[in-house]
């Protein structure tokens, strides 16, 4: 659970890397025919390619091709089994995972329950420093693997039953555990990945061996490209293209120029600079699709200026979300009036009710009655392209509330967080969230519960915490969602943060491919994409 670094499109060329690409591969371009052609997809240089160490979009795009998840999500974003045959539990505490037979790793090794157990233990072992480490915290025995010299190397909650079955015991019942299994932290790793039990080979990351629809072709060519080809022994749904080249770019604008020139096939994120011209440049090859990102304005609720919920509600009512999404974001984001993303089961429109409506007269009245501060500061990270909308918001607050309002940029998000954690007065500050798996709990827990990993604003409501806990421990999904929704209603009353915008994938592709789809995690669907003949 984490606030992932929101990808570039939020505003800026944050795309974390660099690359190179186009012409080197020019030779492949001409070969027509859907079977031999190469589909190229823009990524940034991934940070890592080990499943348990991959949290950013570029790495997870590649990993998603090389591995097949236990579960995936249907159109309603409910989980269904893919590599798993069944994922069941009677008490939501002890889960039995049965694997489908027939899956093999790209080196021919059979996928067994042990492959999963080994990979998860590796990810959870503190000294390995894996980025997805916190994802395993619900599994029994996780705590023993943490610290400088952990007590154990294996989680006691993972037990192999037979070659294709294993059980997972959680610390406490968790209804959404099956949903979490779609995340790449829960991929298996082959024996070939380890040089000794629990020790990953250095070379593994350069050419990860997975059990997915594609296998590596050669090794990871840093700053350049990662090539994969169809793995013919894959038992699941077969991809329609034979080869995929993940081409590494440092700047989205360079990739955009390549898409226009048909030199690159898919650009998962249209750069902000090109948003206004992209629809006419690309025509029907300019696409949007739902995505889980959520942008909001947080308040230091421990600060007496902002501790009154009415002050926060008044500020919310003084912001014209529709205007900002239209003029600043050119419709590439949508106004948010709820506390969880619309892609989730259990999402309801307008849970903020009246406080989410743009109503300057009410806002001013409420603000004055509640005695809001005479100067509002909105802090943001200057490297994320947030200046435009913060300025627009600040201007609206000035006009509509009759107060002084300014935007204040911190160089990096980390600097902003440090200040918030030290309770340095920064005023209101921006935050963003991208889900790791589609459950309301992935928003409510980390963002708003008292001990939430990303609750930097000190919001604490015991009743809310209780409801989220009850939801997670519920017997059925419906029961869980009902609890989560009650919890969300409390948020609407307390307004610890102001929802601002939900994101969308805004992507484009060349005229050489069709059926380009993107999922909620900003990844191109590699199985569906086809070469246009």
């Amino acid at each position: 659970m984490r606030v992932r670094r929101l990808a570039a499109w939020t505003a800026l060329p944050l795309a974390v890397t660099l690359g190179l690409a186009a012409c080197g591969s020019g030779g492949d371009g001409g070969s027509g025919g859907s079977d031999s052609s190469v589909v190229s997809i823009q990524i940034a240089e991934p940070k890592h390619l080990v499943p348990t160490n991959t949290t950013e979009t570029s790495g997870s795009q590649v990993i998603a091709g090389l591995f097949s998840p236990l579960v995936d999500y249907d159109a309603q974003n409910k989980p269904y089994e893919v590599a798993a045959d069944s994922v069941t539990s009677t008490d939501n505490k002890v889960w039995t995972i049965k694997l489908k037979d027939g899956y093999t790793f790209h080196n021919g090794e059979k996928v067994t329950a042990q492959s999963y157990i080994n990979a998860w233990n590796y990810g959870a072992y503190g000294p390995n420093g894996q980025d997805t480490n916190p994802f395993f915290e619900k599994i029994a025995g996780y705590a023993d693997l943490q610290g400088k010299e952990p007590k154990a190397k294996e989680m006691s909650g993972l037990k192999k039953v037979d070659d294709l079955t294993f059980t997972v015991t959680l610390n406490e019942p968790y209804i959404d555990f099956k949903t979490t299994l779609g995340y790449n932290a829960f991929f298996p790793m082959p024996d070939a990945a380890f040089s000794a039990p629990g020790v990953l080979k250095d070379s593994y990351e350069q050419a990860p061996i997975g059990q997915g629809p594609f296998k590596m072709k050669g090794t990871w060519q840093h700053d350049s490209k990662i090539e994969v080809e169809r793995y013919d022994a894959f038992p699941g749904e077969k991809p329609k293209v034979k080869n995929v080249e993940f081409r590494i770019y440092q700047q989205l604008t360079a990739a955009y120029a390549d898409v226009l020139a048909d030199n690159l096939d898919v650009l998962p994120t249209i750069p902000t600079e090109s948003l206004s011209t992209a629809p006419s440049d690309l025509g029907d090859r300019y696409k949007t699709s739902p995505m889980s990102s959520f942008q909001f304005l947080a308040f230091p609720t421990f600060d007496k200026d902002y501790s009154n919920p009415d002050v926060r509600k008044a500020i919310s009512m003084a912001i014209d979300r529709d205007e900002i999404t239209k003029s600043v974001f050119k419709g590439s984001q949508t106004p948010a009036r709820s506390f969880v993303s619309p892609v989730l089961p259990g999402y309801r429109d307008d849970t903020t009710g009246k406080s989410g409506e743009f109503n300057p007269t009410e806002a001013k009245k409420l603000y004055q009655a509640a005695g809001g501060p005479s100067k509002i500061v909105i802090s943001y990270n200057g490297d994320g392209g947030h200046k435009d909308w913060v300025d627009a918001t600040v201007n609206q607050l000035k006009t509509n509330l009759g107060v002084d309002a300014v935007g204040s940029a911190e160089p990096k998000f980390a600097d902003l967080l440090t200040k918030v954690e030290n309770k340095t007065p920064v005023g209101a500050f921006r935050m963003g969230w991208v889900m790791d798996y589609p459950t309301m709990e992935d928003y409510l827990g980390p963002l708003y519960s008292t001990n939430g990993s990303s609750n930097y604003y000190g919001y604490s409501n015991p009743e809310f915490d209780k409801l989220v806990k009850e939801g997670a421990a519920a017997k059925t999904q419906d029961e869980a969602i009902a609890k989560y929704q009650q919890a969300e209603d409390i948020l609407a009353k307390d307004m610890p943060v102001i929802p601002l915008r939900f994101g969308e994938n805004v992507f484009g592709h060349s005229s050489k491919v069709k059926n380009v789809e993107m999922d909620l995690f900003q990844r191109v669907n590699l199985v569906k994409i086809e070469a246009a003949s």
């Binding site: 606030v3 670094r5 190179l20 012409c23 700053d223």
Partner: protein, 312 residues
């Protein structure tokens, strides 16, 4: 001359330690919390924090801790080990991959500057106040006035996307042709300066006493220009181009970014953007050496070209 070079080499050692110390201090002192910076907007778990603290020796704090880390770094550096980037890649390997393409780009840019800049400069110098002279004056003004950050995307859009004369980006293992457009863009700035410099120098030398003497003793104009004027006029130009080569070798952050060329500037930019301190310091340390050496070469070259200059 030998003593001069030796002295310069000794100075270089001092300069190297001074600059790396400053760069190291600036890179790491500015980071409030390097571990949080590495994680971006994600919360950092205690397990990761412990792991990274130990890995990067962040447990030693204060001035003592800083020098401890710096000397540790220098020790490795002297053994030829540039260390690892925060993503675990060997910085020596990164540079080894990045340099060849940057060098190729730099040579193309330099060739453009020499072929067009110097030639046009000589012509403009000979035909002062002619249409050619005036139009190159305006053109160079224009080029010098447009920053690369505008020029590069513009050239990419027009020549690469709109008219499709060149590939819009170059990529990892680019052909000469793919590097041509970025090379021209990169070279255009040095071209303009080289042209101005050559023109001024040629124009000045044409009025010099020795040219008048040559002319009065009846030498043909061509010989005067090529043998007498050109040789003397090129001294400042060669100096400029030598320094410029050092500059170009350190990579062109903007051009390499726009045309997606994974050279040195490109990696440096990524290092800065992702706050990869070790990568930035590693690249800059090597760049310091490149600058020092190229400066020395230019200075020595100066003496070779102009016999009046003597080094002791």
């Amino acid at each position: 001359m030998f003593r001069y070079i030796l002295r310069r080499l000794l100075q270089m050692v001092l300069a190297f330690f001074g600059t790396t110390l400053i760069v190291y201090a600036l890179t790491f002192a500015g980071q409030g919390d390097p571990i949080q910076a590495l994680a971006g907007e994600r919360p950092v778990t205690p397990a990761q924090r412990a792991y990274l603290t130990e890995k990067y020796h962040l447990d030693a704090t204060g001035v003592g801790g800083f020098f401890y880390r710096y000397f540790d770094y220098v020790k490795n550096l002297l053994q030829g080990n540039l260390g690892e980037s925060l993503t675990g890649r060997n910085i020596g390997d990164i540079l080894q991959q990045a340099w060849p393409v940057t060098v190729r780009l730099a040579l193309i840019a330099l060739a453009v500057a020499i072929i067009f800049g110097v030639t046009a400069g000589v012509l403009a110098g000979i035909r002062r106040a002619s249409i050619f002279d005036n139009s190159t004056l305006v053109l160079t003004l224009l080029v010098l006035g447009i920053p690369t950050i505008v020029l590069a995307p513009l050239a990419q859009y027009l020549l690469g996307v709109k008219w499709q004369l060149f590939p819009p980006t170059a990529g990892s293992d680019p052909t000469f042709y793919a590097l041509l457009l970025p090379g021209i863009v990169l070279g255009s700035l040095s071209l303009a300066t080289a042209l101005r410099l050559t023109r001024a120098s040629v124009a000045e030398n044409l009025r010099a006493d020795y040219v008048r003497t040559a002319r009065s003793k009846g030498l043909v104009k061509r010989r005067i220009v090529i043998v007498h004027v050109l040789r003397n006029s090129l001294i400042p130009v060669v100096t400029f181009l030598g320094v410029e080569l050092g500059n170009l070798m350190s990579g062109a952050i903007i051009t390499e970014g726009v045309f997606n060329i994974p050279g040195v500037g490109f990696n440096l930019f990524r290092g800065i953007r992702t706050e990869d301190g070790p990568l930035v310091v590693g690249i800059v340390s090597v760049l310091v050496v490149v600058y020092l050496v190229s400066n020395l070469v230019v200075d020595v070259l100066y003496a070779v070209l102009d016999p009046r200059i003597r080094y002791e």
